[in-house]
């Protein structure tokens, strides 16, 4: 059985249905991407998985446990970390405080210190400026911190929403390389991306979401080769 399984998810903001039938599965140890154009419902889907939104109907099952009725802070304790769209750092707090907030639910001080050091090893620029306010960093550095913060809860499932947004191609590559390293170290990753080309190249499995529904799925390679995907998303991504 899949580690995370989302079935027939419907989510609405008031009368407007943003997600109207999304289903997908994430296997343990994989990178799975949700791709699709702006407004397709990818971010809404992630926000529902992490408990910020309640679905109208459908199911979200994590490791055999239905989680779609739990509050967000309990879903985090079950091992789901969510790095939200736009990074949403605590801008007036230091790098170190942002990381400590990522570890808010953990009681093992020694382990927390070790993991802070691990984030600094992963992104040395954060370690050099650990006392600086997060709001003063560049977009790429902020993204590193956002990923680092999400890692601090030692999640089993790491969800990243548009980690490449606003980043240079070099920085995007660096972030995606890191995502791959995390997967190789055993973290399961659910990635939402508009940058379909890079996301598919990285993914073990991917789903296309269009107008609030999952329309296609396959391995990253299969979707890259799929003419429907090429026409709808890759041309757009290449020219963007």
């Amino acid at each position: 059985m899949a580690f995370l399984s989302v079935r027939d998810l419907v989510v609405a903001y008031g009368a407007i249905q943003a997600v109207r039938g999304v289903s997908f599965e994430v296997e343990r140890g994989q990178i799975v991407s949700l791709i699709g154009s702006n407004g397709a419902g990818k971010t809404t889907t992630l926000r529902t998985v992490s408990g910020l939104l309640r679905p109208v109907s459908g199911e979200i099952v994590l490791d055999g446990t239905p989680i779609h009725t739990l509050p967000a802070h309990e879903i985090l304790s079950l091992g789901v970390a969510h790095s939200p769209e736009g990074r949403r750092l605590f801008a007036r707090m230091s790098v170190e405080e942002n990381l400590r907030l990522g570890a808010y639910t953990r009681k093992d001080e020694a382990g927390v210190l070790k993991d802070i050091q691990r984030v600094y090893d992963l992104f040395p620029v954060l370690g050099e400026r650990r006392m600086n306010k997060a709001g003063l960093f560049s977009g790429g550095e902020q993204q590193m911190l956002a990923i680092g913060r999400a890692l601090m809860s030692s999640p089993k499932l790491l969800m990243l929403d548009e980690p490449s947004m606003g980043l240079s191609p070099i920085m995007t590559q660096k972030i995606f390389d890191t995502v791959k390293e995390l997967r190789d170290a055993g973290t399961t990753v659910l990635l939402v991306e508009q940058n379909a080309l890079s996301a598919l190249a990285l993914s073990d499995h991917a789903y296309v979401i269009d107008l609030g529904r999952t329309t296609l799925s396959g391995t990253g390679r299969e979707l890259l080769a799929d003419p429907r995907v090429q026409e709808a998303y890759l041309g757009e991504a290449a020219s963007a």
């Binding site: 967000a72 985090l76 949403r88 801008a91 007036r92 405080e97 907030l101 808010y104």
Partner: protein, 309 residues
């Protein structure tokens, strides 16, 4: 001349520390849920009545006659009564309106304020008029030997010292502890705080409780210093405290303290030296508020809103 000036400074500092204690509750609640809790002045008022009730009806004379027993007990009782009222207010009046338009909780706050005043008036024996309140600290006045001597009551000194210690302790708590960090996180971005595993309901209850404790302590000290209390005390001092919080930069702890002290000093010195005397001290307070807000709309320590990417 000098000693008149210095005694007004002393008066201003006493009043200012009292206002600062109340202002901390306004500023903390605003910081977390962006609500101006207009009923916060009444939390201060019920603390004073709660403390007085314990003196009058509960504690044996062997305790009430010794200030070193009575003072800490009455302060704790006042704080507990205020915490209870503040937490109940959050739970039953504000939490159901968490996602309502912002005007709804604001109007509710005004309603809660009136309800609490009336409840005390109806149910507290003799509360239709002002009630005498005993001085709970060492009786008497210290004369600071400057000029002709500057008098300040021991209770006034206690008020200044205790307020500053509590405000300093609160700032340390918010800056240094895990729970304090959770409060700041909730204040900056509630959804992301939830993604960190923080339960915002707990943070909000804690914020109301802390604000309530400080207001209750302020209520008992107020009674102890002025030696009588009435059901309007929350309204008057609540307005001063709210103004102090805005002056200092709402949401900011240090700002609330500085704002409180500035208002205390303006009230005391304005009443002494400016035309109109004490009848006009409110006017000078709001003149200062308006002048400061014209040049620094975010208050002394407030941060300008930054647009997030």
């Amino acid at each position: 001349m000098l000693s008149t000036f210095l005694s007004q400074i002393a008066n201003g500092l006493v009043l200012g520390s009292l206002i600062a204690l109340i202002a901390l509750g306004y500023t903390m609640v605003y910081g977390i849920i962006t609500l101006i809790n207009f009923a916060h002045g009444e939390i201060f008022m019920v603390g004073a009545y709660g403390g007085l009730a314990s003196m009058t009806y509960l504690l044996p004379t062997v305790i009430t006659q010794r200030w070193y027993f009575a003072l800490p007990i009455v302060l704790v009782v006042g704080a507990l009564v205020s915490i209870l009222v503040a937490v109940a207010m959050e739970r039953f009046a504000y939490r159901p309106l968490r996602n309502a338009p912002r005007l709804a909780p604001l109007i509710t706050a005004l309603g809660v304020s009136v309800a609490l005043q009336e409840a005390v008036r109806v149910f507290y024996p003799g509360a239709t008029a002002a009630i005498p309140f005993p001085d709970l600290f060492i009786q008497g006045t210290l004369i600071i030997p400057i000029g002709d001597g500057v008098p300040i009551r021991y209770t006034g000194i206690l008020l200044i010292v205790l307020s500053l210690v509590l405000a300093f302790g609160l700032e340390r708590f918010v800056e240094r502890t895990r729970m304090g960090r959770a409060m700041r996180a909730t204040s900056q971005d509630r959804d992301v705080a939830r993604l960190m595993g923080i339960n915002p309901d707990r943070v909000i209850v804690l914020t109301f409780a802390i604000g309530g404790a400080l207001a209750g302590i302020a209520g008992v000290l107020y009674g102890s210093y002025l030696n009588n209390i009435n059901i309007d005390m929350g309204f008057q001092n609540g307005i001063f405290a709210f103004t102090a919080a805005v002056l200092g930069g709402i949401g900011n702890i240090r700002g609330a303290v500085i704002g409180g002290l500035v208002i205390g000093l303006v009230k005391a010195l304005g009443g002494q030296y400016l035309p109109g005397g004490t009848a006009y001290d409110y006017v000078w307070i709001f003149v200062v508020l308006i002048i400061v807000l014209v040049f620094r709309p975010q208050g002394f320590f407030g941060e300008t809103e930054r647009v997030r990417a």
